[in-house]
Amino acid sequence: MTPYAGEPVTPYAREVVSGSRFRGAGIRIAAGFLFAFGLPFLALVVWGVWSTRSTNRFFPGPLTIGEAFVDTWVGRAFLDDVLPSLYRLGLGIVASIVVGVAAGTVIGLFRWLRELLEPLLEFFRAIPPPVLIPVAMLLLGITDSMKVVVIVSGAVWPILLNTIEGVRATDSVMTETADSFQITWWERLWFLVLPASSPRIMTGVRQGLSVALILMVISEMFASSSGLGYRIAYFQRNYLIAEMWSGILLLGLVGVLLAVAFGLVERRVLRWYHGMREVTRA
């Protein structure tokens, strides 16, 4: 039904796969594969060769790091360090979305509230979130909830501000339509306000995700005895260079997976939006 929905709107994806249809799918797939993995592979090879010649002990080769990765993260460490981190991250993200969207909707709906809070919000958003770690430690102690609070305290702002903006900018005709059909408050929220602001909300969530990941790492670097951030800092303190790199790699993977998961959810939630944009662009 929605022929355009499958297409993401990044400039990369907009690039239509070139090459004639008659040359066959095989070549196209091969070319796609080459494009997707050619450069990363090349980079790995160059890095590998370089590392065998270099004496810089802070840059081990990809093979060493790969080995360290398996040794370090496969097994118990995954349960002890990775899962708790991901749990806190997940909790933080969910809480940020709930708080951000709920508060953003309320603030967006009432003009006086918006004007009352605007300078405050601008200020709080501008505080670099890691700065709040010491404050959170003072108020909450060194606990899991403190880490989650730190994550939320940073990740909630882009979601909150984008929600306010999205709710505020709800189309006037759409609102009048809802008025004229006497749509109830809840239906209006669910069928008009939230969907209408969903593109902005999703933009906010995307920004919030990367902030949340950063704060997960930092909060663990400061006050923790477990977790991905703690481990990486620990490896560095003990000059376990390859292990440290493997931790960075793992964080990168978490980031990529988070981005992919978000992409899937976003495409689902905003199917109508991307579809509509494709149509208007055509």
């Binding site: 005709v173 009048e176 339509t177 749509i183 109830t184 109508w272 579809g275 149509v279």
Partner: protein, 269 residues
């Protein structure tokens, strides 16, 4: 014609937009009545407050003074007895809902059984000729089809009055003719009372049983004209009738006079 009862009564309606430094009088004094089952076209020069009038009728705007009465009780806000079809179909349909979802939305808070609701929705979508597109999203449809969806949504709501605000201003001529016929058809088959606001003189004469010509702002009713064309109308023969041309010319004159009505005192000075 059977005897009709008064459905909508407007008396000395006045609307002034207030702003910090001065007031703008959009509607001066409008009075008219409308019977059940009538199709009344409202036509007037551009910028004469047609949309304001319509919003007052629909209860979306509170009038400054005067009275709007539905079935004998005053209108104080949006009422379930009215449904509005807006000019900007692209903005009045919700793009995140399917056609069916859009038509169904206003029915959700009506106390209807699931089956009743489904029947109403299906029936309305069929009535506007879109059963094949029920599961599409509005933005996948052409402009004309989108306006059909808006109409379907309005009739599924089962209002006593259907209010249409220049609904076809943004579609091309051919589609427009089709949609006009759709409105005529819905009116004749379902006897829905309709207020149709337009700036198009031909359209008002072709569609209406009555045409209300408005003056320039501050708006008054310039003329309340009965259209004595046969109820069976079609694009070719009706528009070719001599009476059609006469009526059209008459309305055109009225509108010109409405415009001059404001200019005249200045030139007299």
């Amino acid at each position: 014609m059977p005897e009709r009862s008064t459905l909508l009564r407007v008396e000395h309606l006045r609307k002034i937009y207030e702003s910090a430094t001065g007031d703008v009088e959009a509607i001066g004094d409008i009075s008219f009545t409308m019977n059940a089952g009538e199709l009344v076209c409202v036509v007037g020069p551009s910028g004469c407050g047609k949309t304001t009038l319509l919003k007052c009728l629909a209860g979306l705007l509170p009038p400054t003074s005067g009275l709007v009465e539905m079935d004998g009780s005053p209108v104080r806000g949006p009422s379930p007895a009215m449904a509005v079809v807006f000019q900007e179909y692209g903005r009045s349909l919700y793009p995140w809902l399917t056609v069916r979802g859009n038509v169904e939305l206003p029915l959700r808070h009506k106390k209807l059984s699931r089956a009743e609701r489904d029947t109403l929705v299906t029936d309305a979508i069929e009535a506007v000729g879109l059963p094949h597109a029920a599961r599409s999203h509005p933005w996948q449809l052409s402009g004309g089809m989108q306006q059909r969806v808006a109409i379907a949504r309005a009739i599924a709501y089962q209002p006593e009055v259907l209010i249409m605000d220049e609904p076809f201003a943004a579609v091309d001529a051919q589609t427009r003719a089709d949609l006009e016929d759709l409105v005529r058809e819905l009116h004749t088959t379902r006897r829905i009372s309709t207020v149709f606001v337009t700036h198009d003189i031909d359209e008002s004469v072709y569609l209406g049983e009555r045409v209300l010509v408005l003056s320039n702002s501050p708006t008054r009713v310039q003329e309340d004209l009965a259209i004595d064309l046969p109820p069976e109308r079609d694009q070719l023969t009706t528009r070719a009738l001599r009476r059609f041309t006469e009526l059209r010319t008459h309305v055109y004159d009225q509108i010109q006079r409405a415009k001059l009505g404001q200019v005249a005192p200045q030139s007299a000075r």
